[in-house]
Each structure stands twice: as C-alpha cells, then as structure tokens.
C-alpha cells in the first residue's frame, strides 16, 4: 500500500488532529509558551511570527491585552475537551440505556420514550439551552448538563432501532431459553451488538456539541470566565477584527479543524461498522 493510498483509506489526518487535541488537553499546562492569562499591554496586538513586527516569542500573535493567542488556544483545549467528553459521555450513556430499555421492552415505555424524543427533536435546542443556562446561572457543570441534554435523543433513536432488530434474532431467543434474565440478555447479548452504533453517534455528535458550546460561549452563556474558551476568544476580539485578524481567526480555525476531524472520523466509523447506515 502506497502512502497516498493509506491516507485515502484511513482517516490519518483527522485522527492526528484529534489525538493532538487530546494530548494538548492533558499536557497543556506544561507546554504553554506563556501564561495564557497574563496581560502585557506593551506587546498588545503583536501579529503572528511570519508577519512584519511579529516575533517567534508570540507564535500566533497576541490579543488586545497582550495575551499570547497560542497559549490561550492551548489552555482552551483542556476545558473544551473536558466539557465535550463529559457532555457527550453523559448524553450517550443515558441515551443508550434508555434506547436499550425502550427497544427491548417495547410497549408503553417505548411509546412514551419515543414521543419525548420526537418532541425534543422538534424544539430549537440552542435557544432552550440558552434560557436554561441563564436561569440556572453560568457554570461548567450546568454547561455539561445542558449539552448532554442535546446529545441523548440521537443515541436513543439509533440504539432503540438496533435493539429492535437484535432482540428478534435467534441467539437472543436461545439465550432466553437457556434461562438468561432480561438484564443479562440486554447487557451481555444486545449491548455488544449496539456498541458500534454508540461509537458512531458519539463521534458524530462531538462536532455538534463543540459548535454549540462555541456558540454559547460566543453569546456569553458558555464556559464561564476566567476559564479560557475558544468561542469567547472570538467574541472578545471581534471588535478588533480590522486591526488584529489573528485574534479571532486562529481560535475559529481550530474549532473548524476539530469539528471537521470529528465528522470525518464519525463518517469513517459508520462506513466501517455498517455500510447500510451510510444514508444517515
């Protein structure tokens, strides 16, 4: 396999971007070139290193208060990863459990659950979240909670559909004849069959969650200050766009790259696990 073919077949670049993000999130504190919160007005709006007046001290330039843009992006990675992993994780675990139970038992439980999912799907999620955040007050845990609220219905729908098809398979009937309890059948025989779908939903959902978080931060209802946030970096600096484009360009670029990688990986997982799902 030639290198080009390898690149085409496997999502190498997206995987590298995601791994870089995760590593940055973990070791960020040790690799930041500057303290991301320390202001230094003498160097405010220093351009990136390749431009005139730029210096390699501040690789991607500095913002209006003279804070290093690169360091802020690195520091923002940790919070973003924490929020997204916690939100998607909670949402997917809750969604999978509900989907499994609804699909397996069917009947009234299933009806009620699916109506709730349908109802949630026809509501404008971001706006509802915005109101909830304003009422409960801005906070990291609130944010994780409301973002998890966004991601569970998708998981329910897919896991339920898959459970419905799996529970009529012969091996499930055999397990029941062998005397397996409901919970054992669900956990040992059906859950492994739906786990692929869970991985796909989780990866595909990540991009959406990151974008929502960024939009919330932009609107002032996301990651609470003083925690660094990519979305807020863009909103804080938008008034200086004609003087210092780099302050809002780079955080947005990072968001776009991460979201794109997440979508790519999700698509790839989906095609690999189950080609019939391609239409989703």
């Amino acid at each position: 396999m030639s290198p080009l073919e390898f690149l085409r077949r496997y999502p190498v670049i997206p995987a590298v971007i995601i791994v870089t993000l995760l590593v940055t999130a973990i070791v960020g504190d040790w690799i930041v070139p500057h303290n991301p919160e320390r202001a230094d007005l003498l160097v405010r709006h220093t351009p990136p290193f390749w431009m005139e007046e730029g210096s390699t001290d501040y690789f991607l330039g500095t913002d209006a208060l003279g804070r290093d843009v690169l360091s802020k992006i690195i520091a923002g990675a940790r919070v973003t990863v924490l929020v997204v992993v916690a939100a998607v994780g909670t949402g997917v675990i809750v969604g999978t459990t509900i989907g499994l139970v609804a699909g397996y038992f069917g009947g009234l439980v299933d009806d009620i659950v699916m109506r709730i999912v349908d109802a949630w799907n026809i509501l404008p999620g971001l706006l509802i979240i915005l109101v909830v955040v304003l009422v409960l007050g801005q906070g990291l845990w609130t944010l994780i909670g409301v973002l998890a609220m966004l991601s569970w219905p998708g998981a329910v729908r897919l896991v339920r559909a898959e459970t419905l098809s799996l529970k009529s398979r012969e091996y499930v009937s055999l397990a029941r004849i062998a005397g397996a309890s409901n919970s054992r059948i669900m956990l040992r025989h059906i859950l492994p069959g739906v786990i692929n779908i869970v991985i796909v939903t989780a990866t595909l959902g990540t991009g959406n969650i990151i974008l929502t978080e960024a939009a919330l931060s932009y609107l002032g209802a996301g990651i609470p200050p003083p925690e660094p946030s990519w979305g807020r970096m863009i909103s804080e600096e938008r008034q200086y766009i004609d003087a210092a484009w780099w302050t809002s360009f780079f955080p947005g670029l990072v968001i776009a790259m991460v979201v794109m990688s997440g979508n790519f990986l999700g698509d790839w997982f989906r095609d690999r696990f189950d080609p019939t799902l391609r239409q989703l």
């Binding site: 404008p124 609107l219 766009i241 004609d242 947005g252 979201v259 979508n263």
Partner: protein, 318 residues
C-alpha cells in the same frame, strides 16, 4: 394520509404546550417576579405593599392558575412588557419579524440554489475535481462555527476588499429591491445559508448516488435516452424527495443560526432582540422570543412532515 397528518398535528400541539410549561416554569425559577420590583428589606417596601402588588399581578393565586392566565395572554398575542423600556414585547417582536423573515427566506433560497445543484453535480461526476470541491465546501460549511464565518466574511469582504457594507439591514425607507438595501443582505444570507446548503448538498449527493445506481436508470441509459434527460427527469425527480422534505427542517435550523448572525451583523431582527434580552437580563422579552422561535420551529417541522406525507405515496395511502 389524514390520520397521519392529524396525528402529527396533535403531537406538534402537545409539544408546544409542554414547551410553554417549560418556559413558564423557567421564568418562575428565575426568581420571584415581585423581587423585580421590590427587594425585601432593600427598598423598604412594606409587607402590605408587597401583598398588594402580588394581588395586582395575580401572583397570590396558585401556580397553575398563574400559568393558565399567562398562557391565555400569550395565545392572544400579549407577551407583557419588557423590563428595560416598558414597551409591549409583542409590538417589539412584530416590528422585528420582517427583517428576520427576509433574512431567513433569502438564506433558504440560497441554500437550495447552492446545495441541490452542487449535490447533483457531485453525484453525477463522482470522483472528479468538482465532486471534491463541492464536498469540501460542504465539509467546511458543516464544521466552521457560524459566528466565525461571519467575522471572517466581514474581514474579507467589508474590511479588506470593501465590497459590501456591514451592520444593520441598510438605510430605512428604501425599497428592499434596490441595490442600496440589498447589498446589506448578501453577507448575512450567505453566512446563514452555508451550513444548511452543506447539509442539503450531502443529502442530495447520497440520494442521487443511490438512484443513479438503480436498474431503471441503467435501462433508460441502455435504450439510448439522452444523459441529461436521464439525470434530470429519471433520477433527479426521485432523488429530490428526501432533500426536499429535509429542507423544511433546514429552514427551522435558521432559527438557531439567525440568533448568532443577526447579532454579528446588527441585523434588526427577532434574533437580535433575543440576544439583547440575554445581555439585559430582560426575562419577559427573552422567554417571549424563545416561545415565538419555538412555535415557528415546531410549525416548520410540521410542514416538513406534511410535505413528506404529500410526496411519499407510502404515507399518502395509509
């Protein structure tokens, strides 16, 4: 068909009712409404005065009664007054509705004009340069944060190139169909339409690919039908069903996008009213705008279901 629609309609209404309960509950959780007027011990308001006020505002009644009274007012279009300027919220929303509608319709048309033809092109010329370019446009459109796209567009087209103006919806009293006014619409409409266009592009592409792969298309080709006729008459008409029904949902997604885009371009629409309310802690305005947006959102979703029912024979004869 009728049963299907009735079921969907009832469901939409129930969802809306639940949404109103939710919004009402949240607005009560935000704090005792009376405290907006009186801080106990703070302003030296006596207990009598507080009781008097709560009686006047109907706050002494049980919560369910309060909810019903509130719902009745909302249904008749009375959203109360804003906290900031004490003007009627419904009047404000009404004033701002037209610009938002303009923006949404423009973006909707744009996203269809961009998404559908590019999707067909990319499916027909699969693996070609145009396929890659279209898919890249779609990928970026789905991944780039909308507010960032807006800011970068302003940087490029307004600041650097100086082609398009920025801020507000243009001079007042000028007809919408003049360039002086229209040029203000271009950037926000593109920014808002890009994401939905990307979704439509991907949907159209995968639907077209599937149809082009089917036997009747091969047959039509085999009997010598003109290739363009096969694509547009045989394949496209079948493939467009799914993207078309989804397009209504796409329209609904403008609700969320409009909030951000209007903020950045200072577009005087309902979305801006809403973010202003966020900044001002103006809860009546905020909940009302959210309710209006939610109603629009639910309604468009219902329209999508209806369209789907009309277009899909399986449901039509149910």
């Amino acid at each position: 068909m009728r049963r299907y629609l009735v079921r969907k309609l009832i469901f939409a209404i129930i969802t809306l009712i639940v949404a109103t309960i939710f919004v009402f509950g949240l607005s009560r959780m935000a704090g005792d409404p009376l405290l907006l007027f009186a801080k106990p011990g703070g302003y030296g308001m006596s207990q009598e005065r507080i009781d008097q006020l709560s009686q006047k505002l109907g706050l002494d009644k049980p919560l369910i009664v309060q909810y019903l009274v509130w719902l009745g007012r909302v249904l008749t279009g009375d959203f109360g007054q804003t906290i900031v300027s004490e003007t009627s919220v419904s009047k404000l929303i009404w004033e701002r509705a037209a610009p938002t509608l303009q923006l949404a319709v423009a973006s909707f048309i744009l996203s269809i004009l961009m998404g559908v033809p590019l999707g067909v092109l990319s499916a027909v010329k699969r693996g070609s340069m145009s396929d890659y370019v279209s898919r890249t446009i779609a990928l970026v459109g789905q991944a780039a944060p909308i507010f960032w796209v807006c800011i970068m567009a302003i940087l490029l087209f307004a600041v650097t190139l100086d082609w398009l103006p920025v801020g507000t919806s243009g001079p007042d009293g000028v007809s919408f169909w003049t360039w002086a006014k229209f040029k203000y619409l271009i950037m926000p409409a593109f920014a808002l339409g890009w994401g939905p266009a990307a979704a439509l592009l991907r949907l159209t592409r995968s639907a077209m690919l599937e149809v082009l792969d089917s036997e009747y298309v091969t047959l039509a080709r085999a009997k010598g039908t003109n290739y363009n006729v096969v694509i547009w008459k045989h394949a496209f008409r079948n493939a467009i069903l799914q993207p078309l029904t989804t397009s209504a949902i796409v329209l609904a997604s403008f609700v969320t996008g409009a909030v951000v885009v209007e903020r950045i371009f200072a577009w005087p629409g309902v979305g801006q009213l809403m973010t202003d309310a966020v900044w001002n802690n103006d809860f009546p305005t905020l909940t009302s705008t959210v309710l209006v947006f939610t109603a629009v959102f639910v309604a468009t979703n219902f329209l999508a279901d209806m369209l789907y029912g009309v277009l899909n024979p399986v449901i039509r004869y149910d």
